[in-house]
Symmetry: C2
Subunit: 168 residues, 2 copies
DNA sequence: GAACTGTTACTCGGATAGTTATTGTCCGAGTTGATTAGG
DNA sequence: CCTAATCAACTCGGACAATAACTATCCGAGTAACAGTTC
């Protein structure tokens, strides 16, 4: 039961990408520099999210990443599944069927333990599905009373945002 | 987001231990043989649960493991935490504080992302807390119409159960 | 001066090593039961 | 025949390798901007 560190990087990156103006992009190098993490490793997760349809990648100079959907349409679950993979955390190996005396044929009876674990994980995912990137930004603004966080983000974006005229 | 295979083994072992009569024990070797897994590796998790206060270990010949509490008092969450460790799956490394322009001092504002992830994990744990070992057995009996599963378990227990007169 | 073309530099993308956590295994300490000698 | 000490075997407990996953990195393919050239 451990999530990789890449999940945090991915969520923060998406959060930051949601702060820039429509059509603009931000390079992976800038995102990595802002968060103080490895550029190449962050790229790995950005690519995963790009493949999952969460982000759009723009090649060439003045290129970078940009959100493929509105922040209201991106949930934490989308990000976690894109980075960590869609398979559930608990996978039943059916060890009850192994051993010296396996069931002759019992395909109809599901493993009760597997059902319980999957139900718990569905609750976990449902909770993550309730949180959107837009909601995170809203909560952040509520906390950021003096605007220090927003000022820092905007200051960095002013230097690295790519207002390429490719779209809109 | 992946749980170790040991969790499944641990839950199945606890479920089986709950089927034997009060005071009796079952050796780790028997549990491993029944489930067709490595004995030494299963021991590792049985020890963890013993240290967590879920199981009681009896040394010497005719020894083995036995439940330390009633099946109604043991939840899936207890087992998962004992095996996988109590630390949460998502740990915030505060990467927002890193980078070229960290906050000068902002300890009061919590990381919104961390809060959301932890809340989801609490939902996950709450769901696991609702499921007790006794409940699993009850559900199993409901499914096991012809009694094939119970017959197999009882047959194995008749051979390997240790009705040591150590306790009650 | 404007348009076209070639170059160039910058981007993402996937394939490649290093490190850590998980899985699997082994041997030693402790304890109980049986055995055996003595009363 | 009963009792007690001794022996032995079986158990759990923690320390030790092998494997897989995660982390970090490098180089190549592609693309858009820029500079130079030509009309």
């Amino acid at each position: 039961m451990k999530l990789g560190d890449g999940v945090e990087q991915a969520i923060h990156s998406v959060t930051m990408l949601s702060c820039l103006q429509p059509g603009s992009t931000l390079s992976a190098a800038a995102l990595a520099e802002f968060h103080g993490v490895s550029t190449s490793y962050l790229l790995k997760h950005l690519q995963a999210m790009s493949g999952a349809g969460l982000l759009e990648a723009v090649s060439g100079p003045k290129g970078g990443y940009r959100l493929a959907r509105a922040p209201e349409k991106i949930t934490l679950l989308d990000i976690v599944l894109a980075v960590e993979g869609p398979e559930p955390a608990f996978r039943c190996n059916e060890i009850r069927l192994r051993g010296p005396n396996p069931y002759t044929c019992k395909p109809a009876a599901p493993c009760t333990i597997n059902v319980a674990m999957l139900r718990a994980e569905q609750a976990y995912r449902a909770e993550l599905r309730r949180v959107t990137v837009a909601g995170i930004i809203a909560d952040l603004k509520t906390i950021d009373g003096d605007g220090a966080i927003a000022a820092r983000t905007n200051g960095f974006l002013a230097l690295h945002e790519r207002k390429s005229g490719t779209a809109a």
